[in-house]
């Protein structure tokens, strides 16, 4: 009875992974090796189940890596790829710069205040993500809240909507909690006696921070960075709404290929490349998590 329960407990997540990760991944991988066609669905080859084994052989023979070659030759895809990594990288850097002081500040507050501040960080999440990004459009647009306010103060307006700056603003805004929370978690449980010991042994408060608090919080910073970098690299909504047509990001490319160009193989190939790139940070994240937990 007990054994059956534990076997079930082990099989369920595997089954879940198989159905919702491995299978879709294989479908996408297969799609990326197909060719486009004016048909429904818009790609060949299609598996002919009636022909059995022979049909399957023909099906496999028709798969090729042509799409990947096409992607590699076209600057657009490479540009979008690099641009995605660059924006995600800059965004992660900004998040670290902003998130660390926020998390540190909260962790130094009295315990009762801490909870309220953590809630304040999480609270925006109770509003729809889309509405919050649309709100940024209303703020940033030429005659928006920001410019109205600047004009009222007699200052020149700024027009950053549909630029990378707006995308970065949106990314930092949307992902800040994912940076703050892991950092806060590690800073909050840090033993205050360690700082006292460092000061006792001759460290100024600043030097105690850099020698003790900071190095001990690095696992939290790594967790936060990966937690933000990975989804940001594939982000679609923020660059689409705040970045206009100028901003190239892979998430947008995938959308365009799928829905505008009906080029499913290209979209799939881009998705596979993005996934392959992100696997490295994802594995790093996993290792980091294991280290923190142990």
């Amino acid at each position: 009875m007990k054994r059956r329960g534990s076997v079930l407990a082990a099989i369920l997540p595997l089954l879940w992974l198989a159905v919702f990760f491995v299978l879709p991944f294989m479908l996408v991988a297969k799609l990326s090796l197909s060719d486009t066609a004016l048909a429904v669905p818009p790609y060949v080859p299609q598996m002919d189940w009636d022909q059995g084994l022979k049909g399957m052989q023909a099906f496999i023979a028709a798969l090729d890596s042509e799409t990947y070659v096409r992607l590699a030759k076209d600057r657009l895809y490479l540009d979008a790829y690099l641009s995605s990594l660059r924006l995600a990288g800059i965004g992660t850097g900004l998040l670290l710069l902003i998130g660390y002081p926020v998390a540190y500040g909260i962790s130094r507050c009295p315990p009762t205040l801490r909870l309220a501040l953590v809630m304040a960080v999480i609270l925006p999440f109770w509003t729809s993500f889309l509405i919050r990004i649309y709100a940024w459009i209303a703020i940033l647009k030429p005659a928006g809240v920001l410019n109205t306010a600047l004009h009222a103060l007699g200052l020149p307006g700024i027009d950053i909507l549909n630029t990378e700056a707006a995308v970065l603003l949106g990314l930092v805004y949307a992902y800040l909690p994912f940076m703050v929370l892991p950092l806060y978690a590690i800073l909050e449980r840090q033993d205050e006696r360690l700082i006292e010991a460092a000061q006792d042994l001759g460290s100024t408060p600043l030097s105690a921070f850099w020698r003790i608090t900071f190095p001990l919080s690095l696992p939290g910073a790594a967790a936060g960075a990966l937690l933000c970098f990975i989804p940001m690299a594939g982000e679609f909504v923020i660059p689409d709404l705040l970045g206009g047509s100028e901003t190239l990001m892979l998430g947008k490319v995938i959308w365009t290929e799928f829905f505008a160009n009906r080029d499913w193989p290209a979209a799939s190939a881009v998705a596979i490349v993005l996934l392959a790139t992100l696997v490295i940070p994802i594995l790093m994240f996993e290792r980091q998590q294991k280290k923190v937990l142990s």
Binding site: R193, D200, L201, I212, P215
Partner: protein, 379 residues
């Protein structure tokens, strides 16, 4: 000196606090500290001398830790002064005080190895690299951890971690080393070993140590002098033997060791003796306190003799029934009922392996004690 009986039967030549010309290393002058409405330290005057092993003893919440943390610089006194040598250090931040602390939790830096932990204070002082390396080796040898310099703190046993914490605090050669419950995390046997090592270390280095502890045995073994604290105040300061044999009040008598108390009216019995009339009998004890008042006679269990036959009349005597006993190997303790609901504790060292008159439960017993063994208390 020779004719007068010495308290505790131990003669020690180290007593700078009795020397009026000696200058204390550390002085607390009228120090007070409150946290909100809670007064942690009420008003403390205290002097600690060079090379002294000083213990702050008291139950948790008595203010002893706050007092130590004020010396380390983690708390600032609300009023009063703390002097190190001639310098008022009350306002100095911890990193500018030549005072180092060994934390109860050790507070070893988990991301640094043993050698880096020990060298931490030296590096902050800007000691040359070669000298740091040499000093780390010296410290590792001193605490018997040679060859473990590259280990991380979490790869060490509790006892080893404690040694690293000690070496780390001693490496920058503090003028006074503060020890906050240093043995609390060690098991009994290791604790006893460590106590003697700590004493030897303090003697060899010629340093001043101040220890905070709630463990009276630890304070007795380690310290040259003990300050017993209660509710933010120092109740008594003295050598371990003085605190034990001549407590100033019932609190100190009861906190350090076991004690039997008899309450009653006191009168003078002449020649430095007091007579106490209590419901349990009339007893005599050495002492010169104002007569006529209510007072207490305190007598330690080991100073009470237990007899299985009625002794000749005279002297301090009590009759009772043996309620219970505990054989501890080196000692046997007796619980004797002298009246319904009234018990007295007695103890005897088992100096011989056999006894011709063994005692059993419910046996009638007689207790005697010498007037010089009892102490008269007025508080």
């Amino acid at each position: 000196m020779n004719g007068r009986p010495q308290i505790g039967g131990i003669r020690s030549s180290f007593a700078p606090w009795e020397d009026l010309s000696a200058r204390p290393l550390v002085r607390f002058e009228g120090v007070r500290k409150a946290f909100g409405d809670t007064v942690a330290v009420k008003r403390v005057d205290l002097s600690i001398y060079e090379r002294e092993f000083f213990a702050l003893l008291g139950p948790s919440g008595c203010g002893k830790t706050t007092l130590m943390r004020m010396l380390a610089g983690f708390e600032t006194p609300d009023s009063g002064q703390i002097l190190l040598g001639d310098q008022d250090i009350s306002a100095e931040p911890p990193h500018r005080r030549p005072v180092h602390m060994m934390f109860q939790s050790y507070a070893l830096f988990p991301h640094l190895n043993v050698a880096q932990n020990i060298g931490f204070g030296l590096r902050r002082q800007g000691v040359p690299k070669a000298e740091i390396t040499a000093r780390i080796e010296e410290m590792l040898a001193m605490v018997k951890l040679e060859g473990l310099g590259r280990r991380r703190p979490d790869q060490l046993s509790g006892g080893q971690q404690q040694r690293v914490a000690l070496a780390r605090a001693l490496a920058p050669r503090p003028r006074i080393l503060l020890l906050d419950e240093p043995m609390a995390a060690l098991d009994k046997k290791l604790r006893e070993e460590t106590q003697f090592e700590l004493m030897a270390l303090q003697q060899d280095l010629g340093l001043t140590f101040m220890i905070v502890t709630h463990d009276q045995d630890e304070a007795m073994v380690l310290a040259d002098r003990i300050a017993v604290m209660r509710d933010g105040e120092i109740v008594q300061i003295g050598r371990p033997a003085e605190v034990y044999e001549a407590p100033v009040d019932r609190y100190v008598a009861g906190f350090i060791g076991d004690v039997n108390l008899f309450e009653g009216r006191m009168e003078s019995a002449g020649s430095g003796r007091m007579r106490l009339h209590s419901t349990d009998g009339v007893f005599e004890a050495d002492g010169t306190t104002p007569p006529g008042d209510t007072g207490w006679l305190a007598i330690r269990p080991e100073k009470i003799a237990v007899h299985s036959k009625r002794p000749p009349p005279g002297g301090n005597q009590l009759a009772g029934r043996l309620l219970d006993y505990g054989y501890l190997g080196d000692w046997t303790t007796y619980l004797v009922e002298i009246a319904p609901g009234r018990t007295v504790r007695a103890a005897r060292a088992n100096a011989t392996r056999t006894d011709e008159q063994p005692l059993g439960c419910d046996d009638p017993v007689w207790l005697t004690f010498a007037p010089s063994s009892a102490v008269v208390l007025t508080k």
